[in-house]
């Protein structure tokens, strides 16, 4: 027991007041003349003794009133133990970390055993809720049913779930966290792990201590190769590990293509390169793995996919009087063989019987009018998923409308307007102003005129460049920025990613199944269908929950192989510092110890109101007693 305001105990000195009233003041009676005291003789003494007995009761009531009032203001409190053995009804949350790192050394099984033990100790009136969390938090009905996940654990997600759980439960939370306490699980902002008010966090670390670990951190490989000689680069990292020499192998479709040894510095990274690889034609399941092995072999392999195919072709339609644009663009594409796009340049007149369907994308370079059959073929090609690049120059402006899109065009001339962003030094002398409300503007000139716009048409998309590539309306082709612009635009339009589409667990794969009846078929790492029939036609994205290869078959017939790897943050077993954990516990309420200390958590319960109520009762008793003993006798003689 203690006092929150002990200085009020000085009020106990007021006990002297009733003492003075009862023992000192009453001896100073004023003499009252009376005709005769013959009836107040000896028995008067006994009467006074009798009165003193009664007054002692009044004195006791008054003294107790003063004492209780002083105690009430001093606000006494009781220390009481809460936790598993004491306290009121509460919601016990058993949060089990089932992230990728919990696969190491049976950590998940240990966490589940401890969670079951805590659940067994819960009192009958407590509610128990089990949660499994990695990058997402899921409520589970049975702790034993918690399966390992390939995602990265996120304490921020757990805290967010707890904050939403607390008001709905209406009970104080006692959160038991069963995790390997990886430092990488903490978010960048500590405020994100704030616990709900009144929540007690009890930690159950299941990791025995820091664990040295080597892992293939990343792999850099082209997504598509067109000829032999491509290069694969892998980074091997050591987390809290000493320097070591590791043997690393490159595997395609289960067959080892090459092996190398690499010296990994202590707690550092090393890069290993496999040059001049020659993957088979078609989609290949690639893998870079550490052969040596360590305490956590699950992260010793890194998956990637690589496709070997012929270069893609693009159709370039230009005005017969403008051969320069095709020259500049083709030269830019040829500057890098990795672009893997070959250009077929034709004039408008030559395009009459050409079908655009076999091309990766089509470029309409400042064309005024297209052959009717060709224009409708291009429009259909775009609607069905094709890509189109349109440049606007004097010919288009004379026509007044953008081909295919039919948007209005207004010509504009400039003294020397410059583009903004990365195209510094590029000067534009002519540009077309397109009045479009649906297009997304990617780049603007310095006067805010849209320069590069993107618009989706059906399944396909159209890029509009509001000037030309002929070095007349602008000097863009003469600048160094022209080559990467053309190469990236070509790869983007052709759907050819430069890097391997390697994703991490938890990321989303864009499916883009907007067309009615067009279904995307996705086979998961185990060969099962990742989408139901309804999802295959309606889902826009797919969350990749498991590590492995996802086989995606688009409505256009194109087949992709997507490699999904666990987040490499899970490979770092550095634990969260103890100070950080203490701070985390304090976000909910005053410090709680570890699992063993938390069983005896101390809380304070104020008794001030009880003493105040007792003071009121005593005041009432004092009034009754005083009225009974000290009231004036008013009865008539």
């Amino acid at each position: 027991m203690g006092f929150l305001a002990p200085w009020f105990l000085a009020g106990l000195a007021a006990v002297g007041l009733p003492l003075w009233l009862h023992l000192l003041k009453r001896h100073r009676s004023t003499p009252t003349p009376f005709p005769s005291i013959r009836f107040f003789e000896r028995r008067t003494q006994s009467s006074i003794k009798h009165r003193r007995l009664h007054y002692l009761l009044l004195f006791a009531a008054r003294t107790a009133l003063v004492v209780v009032l002083a105690l009430a203001f001093a606000n006494p409190f009781l220390r009481w133990q809460s936790g598993a053995g004491a306290g009121g009804r509460k919601l016990i949350v058993l949060a089990v970390d089932n992230s990728f790192s919990m696969r190491q050394g049976g950590r998940l099984e240990r966490a589940k055993r401890e969670a079951l033990a805590v659940a067994a100790r819960a009192r009958p009136d407590d509610r128990v809720q089990a949660l499994a969390f990695a990058s997402r938090v899921q409520q589970v009905d049975a702790i034993q049913a918690i399966a390992p996940d390939d995602g990265a654990s996120s304490y921020a997600e757990l805290a967010r779930a707890l904050r939403s759980l607390a008001p709905a439960a209406g009970l104080p939370l006692e959160v038991h966290l069963f995790s390997d306490m990886q430092k990488t699980s903490l978010p960048a902002s500590f405020a994100d792990v704030r616990l709900p008010d009144g929540a007690a966090l009890i930690l159950h670390p299941v990791a025995s201590g820091p664990l040295p670990n080597y892992a293939v951190e990343s792999v850099t490989a082209p997504a598509r190769v067109f000829e032999a000689g491509a290069r694969v680069q892998a980074t091997v990292a050591g987390y809290g590990a000493p320097a070591a020499t590791e043997r690393v192998s490159l595997v395609f479709n289960g067959k080892v293509q090459a092996s190398k040894t690499v010296d990994v510095p202590a707690n550092g990274r090393a890069t290993v390169e496999f040059p001049a690889i020659e993957p088979p034609f078609g989609g290949n399941r690639g893998e870079v793995r550490i052969d040596s092995g360590d305490a956590f072999p699950e992260d010793d392999r890194f998956l990637f996919s690589i496709e070997r195919s012929e270069p893609r072709r693009a159709l370039f339609i230009h005005d017969a009087r403008d051969p320069r644009s095709a020259l500049y663009v083709e030269t830019a594409l040829d500057a890098s063989p990795a672009t893997a796009v070959k250009l077929d340049s034709l004039s408008v007149e030559q395009a009459g019987g050409i079908s655009p369907d076999k091309y990766a994308f089509v470029v309409l370079s400042d064309v005024a009018a297209l052959p009717a059959g060709f224009e409708s073929a291009v429009a259909r090609y775009v609607r069905e998923g094709g890509s189109l690049l349109i440049t606007l120059g004097p010919a288009t402006a004379a026509r007044g409308r953008v081909p295919i899109l039919n948007e209005a065009v207004v010509p504009a001339r400039y003294e020397a307007a410059e583009s903004s962003d990365r195209w510094e030094g590029v000067r534009f002398f002519q540009a077309a102003r397109v009045e479009s409300r649906t297009a997304r503007v990617e780049a603007r000139l310095s006067d805010s005129t849209p320069l590069l716009m993107e618009q989706r048409v059906g399944e396909g998309r159209v890029l509009v460049f509001a000037s030309t590539f002929d070095n007349i309306s602008n000097d863009f082709p003469l600048h160094a920025s022209f080559v990467p612009f053309i190469q990236q635009t070509a790869q983007d339009l052709a759907g050819v990613a430069r890097q391997s589409p390697t994703l991490v667990v938890g990321s989303h794969l864009e499916l883009g199944t907007g067309r009615r009846g067009a279904a995307v078929e996705v086979l998961g790492p185990s060969g099962e269908r990742a989408l139901s029939l309804e999802e295959s036609t309606r889902a826009q994205t797919l969350r990749l929950d498991r590590a492995g290869f996802y086989d995606v078959r688009r409505p256009s017939g194109r087949q992709e192989l997507v490699a999904v790897n666990p987040d490499r943050r899970e490979s770092d077993f550095s634990p969260v510092p103890e100070e950080t954990l203490a701070l985390w516990r304090n976000t909910g309420q005053p410090a709680v110890g570890s699992a063993s200390q938390a069983e005896a958590r101390e809380e304070r319960r104020s008794l001030g109101w009880y003493f105040l109520a007792a003071a009121l009762a005593l005041a009432a008793a004092e009034s009754v007693l005083a009225n009974r003993y000290l009231s004036v006798n008013r009865e008539a003689p």
Partner: protein, 295 residues
């Protein structure tokens, strides 16, 4: 109206004891006229047939003229009752819880009795005493007797303590003729002793009336808190508690009054408790009742 005039507090505002007595008595008598039960001296009583030897001066000649028979007129009021007022002027009589002290009240009562007696041509006397005889006015029916009585009553002041035994030795010397004795006192004495002291007067053929004068606060002292009471006669002091006064004191006082009343009745005396908070006419009525009995 009568109540207002006889209220002791109203009487205290009237200067001059003769005027007080006159106010009381005349107001009281005018009130009595309404009562058929009371009549007193100088009134026609009855006719009686003449017998030989009767004084012819009492023959009603008017009746004889009408009836030719001799009848004698008999009158009341031809008695010569002697009233002796014994007024206690001890220190305890000086107590007052209001504007009128017990002694003032006793003086009004004594003056009213004397005035009433004088109106009826009775012989009246006065003895003022405490533990000694302080003043004495011999009974007389002479002209001016009432003024002597009133003067003696007016100058009576509260003295020392009461002692019935000592002055009553002298009373017996003064009271040679039997009559009516009115003792006005607060009787702070043992009731047996009071009765024993008064009994010789009764044996001599006197009618004795004890007027017990008490203040309302003496009967029920309403002490709010413990008080240190000081005896007005002995100057002794005692601390008393309110609850004692409320219960035991009341019991003892009631027992004292009852003992005095019973003792007086047993000795053939009349006893009347007079509360100084109440009108005087009750005392006068008591006197006249006894006076009627003596005619």
């Amino acid at each position: 109206m009568l109540q207002r005039f006889l209220d002791p507090r109203v009487l205290a505002g009237i200067s001059g004891l003769d005027l007080v007595a006159k106010t009381v008595v005349q107001g009281f008598i005018s009130g009595l006229h309404r009562s058929p039960d009371f009549g007193f001296s100088q009134e026609f009583a009855e006719y009686r047939a003449y017998t030989q030897g009767d004084d012819l001066r009492h023959v009603d000649w008017n009746v004889f003229a009408r009836t030719e028979r001799c009848y004698l007129k008999r009158y009341r009021g031809e008695t010569n009752t002697q009233l002796m007022v014994l007024l206690d002027a001890s220190a305890s009589m000086g107590y007052a819880s209001q504007s009128v002290t017990k002694l003032d009240y006793a003086r009004y009562l004594a003056a009213s009795l004397c005035y009433l007696a004088n109106q009826q041509r009775d012989v009246a006397g006065l003895i003022v005493f405490d533990d000694e005889v302080r003043d004495y006015v011999a009974p007389s029916s002479r002209h001016g007797q009432i003024f002597r009585l009133l003067h003696a009553i007016e100058k009576a002041e509260s003295g020392s303590r009461t002692d019935f035994a000592k002055p009553f030795i002298h009373f017996q010397q003064f009271l040679k003729r039997h009559g009516l004795v009115a003792v006005i006192s607060d009787f702070y004495e043992d009731p047996d002793k009071v009765i024993r002291t008064m009994q010789p007067l009764r044996f001599r053929g006197n009618e004795v009336i004890l007027f017990h004068i008490l203040d309302p606060r003496e009967i029920a002292p309403g002490f709010r808190e413990p008080a240190l009471v000081v005896d007005l006669e002995s100057r002794e002091s005692l601390e008393v508690s309110p609850e004692y006064v409320r219960h035991e004191y009341r019991d003892k006082m009631d027992a004292h009054i009852a003992a005095l009343r019973d003792g007086a009745m047993g000795a053939g005396m009349d006893y009347f408790l007079m509360n100084t908070g109440r009108p005087l006419d009750e005392g006068l009525r008591e006197y006249l009742t006894v006076r009627q009995g003596r005619m």
